[in-house]
């Protein structure tokens, strides 16, 4: 096969039954465009065809920023923006956990209290009374327990064939009970390990922030460039070099902005500066799950099961195993969120409201563009949705609104996000 595209003279059977331009346009523009101009054309055609991608959530974020900034000029200060990202980290992680379940067309209601279990297990293990595990061993043990919880729930769902809604609802109640049991009568278990507390509260030195930023951007640039060079070499349609450059430049700019903002002194009494560790943790989880879902067989099967489980079964996909692994990864990610949550509060307490957390996580994933019906969504959507939820929470907090108003506004934003998606898709000829 040479790099030549199929010639026009060739009998084009698919042409024969008259494909409409609107349906032809829903192709990833990267895969059809030869030049930047074509790319922009294909991209806007795709949006008009209802494949809006992350555009609504980006526009939404800009709107939120403008509204809160006009209400309160403190909103867009370096200190508040960093604060917002740190507050949002738990939502972002939990939403990424939820993406695994949502992609299958399932739901995981237990994520919030599975996170709680991770927090309490890590907090207990580092206590001197329990042998004083090193921080990393305690965290790994907590994550392993979460993964096992996921395997247990996934096995019940797939092998016995119960609805995930019910099984994870039982999880929501049961793991809350387990968490409270471990907490005992004390109600609050403080964490005194410096490193665990730093996971959510610590900062890199400004120089380290820049260094990591450069490494991350260089890595991203290299991977992107090599991938596209390989496509060009195999004679496939590859995005234009200008676009590749633009993409890398955009990531570099975003990274630089985050580092610049984070390195601005945001302390009140003592100077505080540097990129928070937790941003790196979220980034690492995001990269890992993006590669897993987008570039491996496992990920492909998750999307296939969410799209048409019967087709996947006939194609030889081991449905039960893939589903169980997906639930295990969902719980594992929830465990990461739980450790961050505990770290941020420097304690684990009975106040942890896993029910609200998990519903916020589902909302974040959906606001970001993940479908509740399975087969559509990305970890990136969860992160963007998490930022939206955190921004609303933070912005309204600055204005002194009550929790009641926050819930109402978050509800409206969730409805708006789903409505935009549904209306955008109505123009499509097929598909949901």
């Amino acid at each position: 096969m040479t790099g030549v595209r199929p010639s026009v003279e060739q009998e084009t059977v698919l042409d024969a039954d008259g494909i409409e331009p609107a349906t032809a346009a829903v192709v990833n523009p990267e895969l059809v465009a030869h030049s930047l101009r074509e790319y922009v054309g294909a991209w806007s055609a795709r949006i008009r065809a209802g494949e809006t991608g992350v555009l609504p959530v980006i526009v939404g974020l800009l709107l939120i920023a403008v509204i809160f900034q006009t209400l309160n000029p403190k909103f867009l200060t370096a200190g508040n923006l960093v604060n917002l990202l740190v507050q949002g980290a738990v939502y972002m992680l939990l939403a990424m956990s939820e993406v695994f379940a949502l992609l299958l067309g399932e739901i995981d209601l237990s994520a919030g209290f599975v996170a709680g279990v991770a927090g309490i297990v890590a907090a207990e293990l580092i206590l001197a009374a329990n042998g004083g595990w090193p921080w990393w061993a305690a965290c790994l043990a907590a994550l392993a327990i979460c993964a096992l919880i996921g395997v247990l729930q996934g096995t019940i769902i797939t092998r016995i064939g119960l609805p995930s809604f019910v099984v994870t609802l039982a999880g929501l109640l049961g793991w809350q009970g387990v968490m409270l049991k471990i907490l005992g009568n004390g109600g609050t278990l403080p964490i005194n390990d410096r490193i665990i507390n730093d996971l959510a509260n610590g900062n890199l030195t400004p120089a380290a922030g820049w260094a990591i930023m450069v490494v991350v951007v260089a890595g991203f640039g290299l991977v992107t460039w090599m991938r596209e060079a390989r496509r060009r070499a195999s004679g496939l349609v590859a995005p234009p070099v200008s676009l590749t450059a633009l993409k890398v430049a955009a990531v570099a700019a975003a990274g630089a902005i985050v580092v610049l903002i984070s390195n601005t002194d945001r302390g009140v009494l003592v100077p505080v500066r540097g990129v928070p560790w937790v941003i790196l943790i979220v980034l690492a989880v995001l990269v890992m799950w993006t590669v897993l879902l987008g570039r491996t067989r496992f990920g492909r099967y998750v999307y296939a099961i969410g799209g048409n489980a019967e087709a996947a079964r006939r194609a030889g996909v081991p449905l039960a195993r893939i589903r169980t692994i997906a639930f295990a990864l969902a719980s594992l990610t929830a465990g990461v969120a739980g450790i961050i949550y505990a770290s941020r509060l420097r304690s684990v307490s009975t106040n942890l409201d896993g029910g609200t957390l998990v519903l916020y996580a589902v909302a974040a994933a959906v606001i970001g563009g993940t479908s509740l019906f399975g087969g559509r969504g990305k970890p990136m959507h969860a992160v963007l949705g998490g930022v939206v939820i955190a921004a609303i929470d933070n912005g309204m907090g600055l204005q002194g609104f009550s929790a009641a108003s926050k819930y109402i506004v978050t509800a409206l934003v969730l409805l708006a996000a789903v409505t935009i998606d549904a209306v955008a898709r109505r123009g499509r000829t097929t598909g949901r």
């Binding site: 096969m1 084009t12 059977v13 032809a24 004679g235 349609v237 491996t296 559509r376 097929t430």
Partner: protein, 284 residues
């Protein structure tokens, strides 16, 4: 030579009694295949020859056993009795995996494609190519394009289009192309044109013809006599689980097939053709 009850034109390879891997043996041959579900005898001593490079149409009224027969060949049901010969060699097809290993692919009526995946992803579903644990998208896209091009199926924009955006005929084309991607030797299609319009039906039948021209054996199940006579080289008619007639398509006409389908016998003959194929019982 063992009589199989088939009417064979001189040009065709004759089924031989030999069980060795014989050049003249048809790709697939069934001898006296039985299938029983509880009290229901779904297939009674079915004989069938499916040669390579030809389209064999399987006709029969509802309940005649067409689906059971193709599912038996595809390994979904095991046969209770009788022999299945593949290239003249006796084989046991106990699971779809066995069938796939022999080179038997089935395109089911409900197309079994994932709407949210693109054409390449659907074609390679379950058999993705990887390089160092990551999906090798380039290799898959190149092969998928080669296969589609060789079948003269070319999409308008891109083979990276999600299947959700395709028309019924295009989806059928993708499902068929998927089945030939794997070096398959026999492609079984269950009602491939059932839900399609006129133009799309013509397109799919063209595609069926092209598969046979590539040397594959194609077996289609169809209710539609127009389709059957347009594309089939051979016909086989099932009636209440028995193979009542089988032979080259030019020995049949519509009325004869309908007679066989509805009564299990026909006293008519085609004006321009040789003797009407006798009923399958002749063999026993």
């Amino acid at each position: 030579m063992v009589s199989t009850g088939q009417v064979l034109s001189p040009a065709e390879p004759e089924p031989t009694g030999s069980t060795s891997n014989d050049q003249s043996a048809p790709l697939l041959e069934l001898r006296g295949v039985n299938k029983r579900f509880g009290a229901v005898q779904a297939l009674r001593g079915v004989d069938l020859v499916v040669p390579g490079g030809q389209v064999t149409a399987l006709a029969g009224d509802n309940g005649a056993g067409k689906s059971v027969l193709i599912k038996t060949i595809a390994g979904i049901h095991g046969a209770d009795g009788g022999q299945v010969l593949w290239n003249g060699r006796a084989v046991h097809v106990r699971s779809p995996r066995d069938a796939a290993a022999l080179g038997i692919e089935t395109v089911y009526q409900d197309l079994a494609l994932c709407d949210n995946l693109d054409i390449v992803q659907n074609m390679f579903l379950g058999r993705e190519r990887t390089s160092s644990a990551l999906l090798d998208e380039e290799a898959m896209e190149t092969s998928a394009r080669e296969t589609l091009t060789s079948l003269s199926v070319t999409t308008v924009r891109s083979i990276r289009q999600p299947v959700a955006s395709l028309s019924g005929g295009q989806r059928q084309a993708v499902a068929i192309a998927k089945s030939v991607l794997w070096n398959s030797k026999l492609v079984i299609m269950d009602e491939p044109t059932a839900a399609l319009g006129v133009a799309q039906t013509a397109m799919v039948l063209d595609l069926v013809r092209r598969l046979a021209d590539r040397g594959l054996a194609v077996m289609i199940v169809s209710h539609n006599m127009n389709d059957v006579f347009q594309v089939a080289d051979r016909l086989a008619v099932l009636y209440l689980g028995r193979m009542v007639a089988a032979g080259p398509a030019d020995q049949f006409d519509r009325q004869i097939v309908v007679d066989y389908m509805t009564t299990g016998e026909s006293r008519r003959r085609r004006d321009d053709a040789g003797p009407v194929p006798p009923a399958g019982e002749v063999a026993r």
